[in-house]
């Protein structure tokens, strides 16, 4: 759906995007992650045919974004950062204008607008003036505009920027619903959001791609081994040797908690499943257990580590 190879974009002397390459397959939901100024918006603007690339090959829906720009634009839906809208127009009026620009006419246009309004929960504000709507509604008007012509690919630049938690949840639900029918590329710096909705994550930093993969893969890349944490009712001195002897466990740290409980964290060999063995070891020792889980590194840790922020 998207093919980018060796894309570079300069603004004067400043290098905004530095020789990046990536692909997005049909049906994928890909998250673009990175600190502010990493080059996410620039890359998305190039994909949406708003800015030209300085060099590199960019193909969207199988067409070159420079040579076949109008056709590419016909087949993508783009939500720019901060959602610029005509504030003096009414919601339905605005969508009629946008749908007409995108080549929709007559009853087909009416059906698509009704569909977009219903799916973005905008039906009750269709006759309101956009300038008087809350930010959450405006954001959804922008998404409705991006969707109205049923594009193959949706490019959403920070779709939840500046929204309250309820509105974020609503937009996230909408994106999940859309993911069934569309290929989606979205950018965000809210990590939990990307983790929740995206199949795959591209981390950008200083104009380059610093890491890519599924959220699980990214956690795996950074860590040489997996960690299992458990809590049992026994003395730390007894827990340490019992767990260390389990095959596959490399190192154990045990620390006492209140009420005779001990929390042990076992570093295990990468890719080896030791949770069942740990369980049997605890049962064999006759200790009550209240927790056993594999610690997954969150995307936030990956993000901080890859982009070189403060730990």
């Amino acid at each position: 759906m998207i093919h980018v190879s060796n894309l570079t974009r300069r603004f004067g002397r400043k290098l905004a995007v530095n020789n990046i390459s990536f692909d997005v397959q049909r049906g994928e939901v890909v998250g673009f992650l990175g600190p502010n100024g990493a080059g996410k918006t620039t890359t998305m603007r190039i994909l949406a045919c708003y800015l030209p690339a300085t060099c590199g090959d960019v193909r969207v829906v199988g067409r070159d974004v420079f040579r076949d720009s109008v056709e590419v634009r016909r087949r993508i839906g783009y939500l720019p950062e901060n959602v610029p809208l005509y504030h003096e127009m009414r919601v339905a009026e605005y969508l009629v204008f946008r749908a007409s620009l995108k080549g929709l006419r007559g009853s087909h246009r009416r059906r698509r607008i009704d569909w977009a309004l219903a799916n973005c929960s905008l039906t009750e504000v269709r006759d309101r003036i956009i300038g008087n709507l809350s930010k959450g509604y405006r954001q959804r008007v922008g998404i409705a505009d991006a969707l109205v012509h049923d594009p193959d690919l949706l490019i959403l630049d920070e779709p939840t920027l500046g929204l309250d938690p309820n509105q974020i949840r609503l937009i996230r639900g909408l994106i999940r619903k859309l993911a069934r029918r569309h290929t989606i590329l979205l950018s965000s710096h809210i990590l939990s959001e990307v983790e929740m909705v995206c199949d795959r994550v591209l981390i950008m930093n200083k104009g380059a791609i610093a890491g890519q993969g599924t959220p699980e893969e990214l956690s795996g890349i950074l860590r040489g081994h997996t960690c299992v944490a458990l809590e049992v009712r026994a003395a730390p001195d007894a827990v340490h040797p019992a767990l260390s002897s389990v095959p596959g466990v490399l190192r154990v740290t045990a620390e006492p908690l209140t009420g005779e409980w001990t929390r042990a964290v076992c570093e295990c060999e990468k890719g080896r499943e030791v949770r069942a063995s740990l369980f049997h070891a605890v049962v064999a020792a006759g200790w009550p257990m209240r927790e056993l889980h594999e610690q997954r590194q969150s995307l936030e840790d990956v993000f901080v580590q890859v982009t070189g922020g403060a730990p």
């Binding site: 949406a48 708003y50 030209p52 109008v70 720019p80 610029p84 003096e88 204008f97 007409s100």
Partner: protein
């Protein structure tokens, strides 16, 4: 060009939905109508055709009208960021330029129509004076059309170069006055350019048009400035895609 029609409707809607356009139109109508009234009352008793009292002040006020109507065409879209949504829709640069141009020009011409109609109102209300010369009024209307077409094109290209509407309006106003009077200045200077100067002065051509003479020199001048401005507009919009 199908999208140019869509953009034309959107431009018209933007003008008719904003209170600013009504204020501008009302002030323009008051100013142009007032100028006619003043001219008529000061020249009462003299044998001057009423259209000679209308088209010169009308063109002067038109510079203000077009500067204020065209200032927002692109400057506003750039400032509010809507240019990004507009240019990522499947429209060509030419469609955007033509659509916006047509919208602004329609509004300007709609504002001029009632002012010209004042002549007929004057004719209707004063049966004592000699009837209107339709040919002469038509000549004046042709000039108003040519001048509006040129002013809107000039205003559009200037609006495209800035994101500040005030800068766009003042630059447009200044440019239009240079186009109106620049020829006179050229002719007045001792450079031996009196001939070229009077050809280039649009203000000098108004007189011929309001007598019913459609002077091809003025037609060519206005048409070529209009065409050049629109062409420059499309190319300037295209520079966005350059590096």
């Amino acid at each position: 060009m199908r999208n140019a029609g869509v953009l034309w409707r959107r431009e018209m809607a933007a003008l008719f939905l904003s209170p600013a356009a009504y204020v501008i139109a009302a002030i323009f109508l008051l100013a142009a109508g007032g100028s006619l009234l003043l001219g008529v009352s000061q020249n009462s008793g003299r044998a001057i055709p009423p259209q000679a009292l209308l088209f010169e002040p009308l063109c002067a006020w038109l510079t203000v009208l077009t500067a204020t109507v065209t200032m927002r065409l692109f400057a506003d879209e750039k400032k509010s960021g809507t240019i990004e949504t507009l240019m990522t829709a499947p429209v060509t640069d030419t469609e955007v330029v033509v659509g916006k141009y047509a919208g602004a020009l329609t509004f300007v011409l709609l504002c001029c129509a009632p002012v010209v109609a004042c002549l007929y109102l004057l004719d209707f209300m004063s049966p004592g004076i000699r009837g209107l010369d339709t040919g002469a009024v038509a000549g004046g209307c042709v000039f108003v059309f040519l001048f509006s077409a040129m002013s809107v094109a000039v205003g559009e290209v200037i609006s495209l170069t800035t994101r500040n509407q005030i800068v766009a309006a003042i630059t447009t106003l200044f440019t239009l006055w240079i186009l109106l009077l620049g020829g006179w200045l050229l002719a007045a200077l001792p450079l031996g350019l009196a001939g070229i100067g009077s050809d280039l002065s649009l203000a000098a051509h108004i007189e011929a048009f309001e007598r019913g003479v459609v002077d091809t020199r003025a037609v060519v001048l206005c048409a070529s400035i209009t065409a050049f401005s629109l062409f420059a507009c499309v190319r300037l919009l295209e520079t966005r895609r350059w590096n």
